[in-house]
Amino acid sequence: MKKNTLILGIETSCDETAVAIVKNGTEIITNVVASQIESHKRFGGVVPEIASRHHVEQITLILEEAFQDAKVTWDEIDAITVTEGPGLVGALLVGVNAAKALAFAKQKPLVGVHHIAGHIYANRLEKEFQFPLLALIVSGGHTELVLMKEHGSYELIGETRDDAAGEAYDKVARMLNLPYPGGPHIDRLATNGEKTINFPRAWLEEGSYDFSFSGLKSAVINKIHNAKQRGETLKDEDIAASFQASVVEVLTAKTVKAAKQYNVNQVIVAGGVAANKGLRKELEAVFLDTGIPLLIPDITLCTDNAAMIAAAGTIAYEQGRRSGLDLNANASLPLK
């Protein structure tokens, strides 16, 4: 019988310090996430220097917690995987250097993992992949459509040209004086509002799977300003509902179109914005009609975690990919 593969994952690309151990790329042994969100709330967004400082404070504590929880010994660990990018460079550096120190101290193989590959592989911790598959990654830092024909192969077919979807949510939330992170608040307001305002939908040129949310964000800001000048009152709920309708319509339409064009057998949604109820509802409704299975992992796996890095890293490890001790953090690492 084939021995199990146990992979350690480390993720520090933004504001969570996370360590996980995953078995065979599909089973979580432990998944520890320390969120810094309470600290960053003071600033209305993630401050890179503060994030980096928290990661240094947390990294060995989280490692220890993971090993205590997993009851796994170092002998059983096959490789160390870590997010090498993209993300905040100072934050990434803590994880990358910790991973290299472990790889050296324990003489284990080291594998650098792309953060988006991680988000996609979060799904494999719940359900096996059926290729070809299409993944929509939506978060504060990302809005991407990725086509996968086989394990470890990523084809970027669409991405945002300006703001990420989550970024637009945060900016609109700030306009409405909602606390950071704004996404959940807008989602909540939207359920009580009417889509009375017709905000623009950025479809971009014919056939493009790229996204753009900065125009929408500006339109919302203008609408609020103009209303104020004219002494009109807009209901925050209506602004939220109308804004969300625009984001959800574009995300859903492009995802469905790509899924049909590439004839995929699965559609995966990942990233923090996948927790958005409005988006989930719309995607579920539309994909029910197409008959293509839609997978949205549990919210704890949608947001940043290290189990997803270990899961993606397992495939990379099994495919023979290795990183050297000169592995660096790369804030704008391309997905390959």
């Binding site: 600033f43 400082r53 250097n97 120190a101 050296f104 001790l325 660096n328």
Partner: protein, 232 residues
């Protein structure tokens, strides 16, 4: 006792291996190159050269700053994680203290510093007393002008040690005259061997609690605190 000393807190990359207080091998570069890429290979090469395995290490000493925030974090993340994995003690030593070792035989004040931009320096005052390095003025982020003003008042002779000496050399000499001693190039380069020696004589830190000695709040944090005060 096998000691690994790591300094990536400023431009100099330093790695040293000591057997007790004897330096067995050392790597040093004074280049504007990426510490994150070069640190682990440097450690790996040096350990191979000496035929030492990671599990034979007994103690890790790391320069904890002040210096480049990123540089310090690279060193500390590496040191504390390695110490945790090997279950050995880790010791953080001030990067200024490491420089002060270069003034080992000077009887009066030692002023090691790193440039912190806009006229500011990370600095403190040290003195060797009874073969021990003693802090005379607490390490802080200060205006070089204020440091020099204090030194004029103290009327002591001061040796200045800094990889950034060229920025302030003229000003120091202007203000302190022959009370200022500024040695030649190599004295301004911190040595990882000194770092290891300093760490040998110190109590170890709690691995989890070892954090950089930034000497400065993050800008956002400082602004936030100011705002909180204003709101009261």
């Amino acid at each position: 006792m096998n000691i690994l000393a790591i300094d990536t807190s400023n431009q100099v990359l330093g790695v040293s291996l000591l057997k007790d207080d004897q330096v067995v091998g050392e790597v040093m570069t004074n280049l504007t190159k990426n510490h994150s890429v070069r640190l682990m290979p440097a450690i790996d090469n040096l350990m191979n050269e000496i035929a030492l395995k990671p599990e034979q290490l007994d103690r890790i000493v790391v320069a904890k700053g002040p210096g480049s925030y990123t540089g310090v974090r690279i060193g500390i993340s590496t040191a504390k994680t390695m110490a945790w994995a090997l279950d050995i003690p880790v010791v953080g030593v001030s990067s200024l203290e490491v420089l002060a070792y270069q003034g080992r035989f000077f009887p009066e004040y030692i002023c090691p510093f790193f440039d912190a931009r806009r006229g500011l320096v990370f600095t403190g005052l040290y003195q060797w007393k009874d073969n021990k390095l003693v802090s005379v003025l607490e390490e802080k982020n200060l205006l070089m002008d204020d440091v020099l003003k204090k030194l004029v008042e103290d009327q002591k002779r001061v040796v200045f040690l800094s990889p950034d000496i060229s920025i302030y050399k003229e000003k120091i000499q202007q203000i302190l005259g022959d009370h200022a001693i500024i040695p030649e190039g190599p004295y301004h380069i911190p040595q990882a061997g000194h770092l290891g020696l300093a760490g040998l004589n110190k109590d170890s830190d709690s691995t989890h609690e070892l954090t950089p000695n930034y000497l400065r709040l993050a800008e956002a944090e400082a602004n936030w605190l100011k705002q909180q005060k204003g709101n009261k």
